[in-house]
């Protein structure tokens, strides 16, 4: 009974937060409500026992996307661009389209035959997958193609971000210069939290083999650690031309591709033989985590903007 009451309140809060994010005035307010919405949706996933999705929603949907949007709002203010409220016709059309989409989705959900699902098939093959968490088994074994392509999409997104760099700023540290008071609250926070964050991030990846967790959740926590350290002035944001950081960016997709090619020997691309499944999946996950963490952190930091910190034009040809 109290569970129903809790769910009803949660649904009402989700709808209210969504409405406030979409209909409220002011970009900053919209972003704050979007973050709140992400936290509430993560709670809803928890209520549905989808802990993996809840972790991903909290870390990526609310946390990382929230920081990304806050950065975009701050950037708009910096460049003096004003966001104009769209005309009423646009608002109404968008609202109608969104409502129609929701109605169609709701209708098809109700019209569909009761889902057979793949739970039994996954459960039957779980012993061969090398891991005990069915979500990880699907992501890294049964549907490895999707995950491989996702990791490459992330890389493509970062290249898109970097392509916005002005020529004279290329080679400078990623993002805008961070100003931090030495010995202030933020720089202390940036020293205290990272060790805990690294521990939690690595734990999430390791736990992903048997319980909720995985490369994406753990990688996002580690990305947050990199971002916090960079914003607190503890870590100098990496230069976009730094070779070591670039190697970290491609490590995940490369290891994944190599494992996939090795699978050719066992039959087909991305075949993971049950004998080697566990070490193979953990290796892929470790490399993926590193790449996801660095890619997400660099994407949020944004393209380099500090032309003064860029190497001089004649030295630019040489990579370090």
């Amino acid at each position: 009974m109290s569970g129903v009451f809790f769910d009803a309140v949660l649904c009402a809060l989700i709808l209210a937060a969504a409405l406030a994010a979409v209909a409220g005035r002011g970009l900053f307010r919209a972003v704050v409500f979007f973050i709140l919405y992400g936290v509430l949706v993560a709670t809803a996933w928890l209520r549905l026992d989808a802990i993996d999705v809840a972790l991903a929603e909290a870390a990526i949907g609310a946390g990382l996307t929230g920081v990304l949007l806050l950065g975009a709002v701050a950037r708009l203010a910096r460049t003096g661009a004003r966001a104009h409220d769209p005309p009423l016709a646009v608002v109404l059309t968008a609202g109608l389209a969104a409502t129609g989409m929701t109605a169609v989705l709701g209708w098809s959900f109700l019209e569909l035959p009761p889902p057979q699902g793949l739970q039994e098939a996954v459960a039957a093959s779980l012993p061969d997958s090398g891991v005990e968490n069915p979500v990880t088994a699907v992501l890294l074994n049964f549907r490895a193609w999707d995950t491989l392509l996702e990791s490459i999409v992330l890389l493509a997104a970062l290249i898109g971000v970097w392509s916005l760099t002005r020529d004279e700023a290329w080679g400078a540290p990623a993002g805008i210069p961070q100003h931090v008071r030495p010995g202030g609250v933020l720089s202390t926070f940036g020293r205290v939290l990272p060790p805990i964050g690294v521990l939690i991030g690595v734990y999430l990846v390791w736990a992903g083999a048997s319980r909720a967790g995985g490369a994406f959740q753990g990688g996002t926590v580690l990305a947050a650690v990199i971002l916090l350290a960079a914003m607190a002035g503890v870590l100098r944001p990496p230069r976009v031309t730094a070779r070591r950081w670039r190697m970290a960016l491609v490590a995940g997709p490369v290891v994944f591709l190599l494992a996939g090619l090795a699978g050719l020997g066992a039959g087909a691309f991305l075949t993971i033989p049950p004998v080697h499944a566990k070490p193979l999946i953990l290796t892929i996950e470790a490399a993926l985590t590193l790449s996801i963490a660095v890619t997400l952190a660099l994407a949020v930091l944004g393209p380099p903007e500090d032309a003064a910190a860029a190497p001089s034009p004649d030295a630019k040809g040489e990579e370090r």
Partner: protein, 115 residues
């Protein structure tokens, strides 16, 4: 039985702090007094709720996790409050006015218009 009673009592006290913090957040006149109200809810409210839940914990690992959650929330709330307070000070210095533009119908009060 006694442990249930302790949980009810302590979480109720925590809720009182959350309600008081929310009222303060809505009613107090400027950024700093609102922060004062907010941090009371985070620190004491969450502290009492975590303490109340300790009596439902099956083992010491859960107790340690609850303590860690409270400590981390405390650290984050304290840091965020300091940063918001400092940003409000800078904001006031750069405008030479009351930092709390939200109380008045100021068209520039939206976040994107801020520095």
């Amino acid at each position: 039985m006694a442990s249930d009673l302790a949980t009810y009592l302590l979480t109720s006290v925590g809720l009182v702090f959350f309600v008081a913090g929310t009222v303060g957040l809505l009613r107090f006149p400027d950024t700093w007094s609102r922060l004062h109200a907010l941090t009371k809810a985070d620190n004491l409210g969450l502290g009492f709720i975590a303490l109340g839940l300790v009596f439902q914990a099956g083992d010491w690992v859960t107790v340690a996790k609850l303590a860690l959650i409270w400590a981390l929330a405390l650290l984050a709330a304290g840091t965020a409050a300091q940063l918001v307070a400092r940003a409000a000070l800078t904001d006031m210095a750069s405008r030479g006015t009351d930092p709390d533009a939200n109380a008045k119908p100021d068209p520039n009060a939206d976040g994107e218009a801020r520095k």
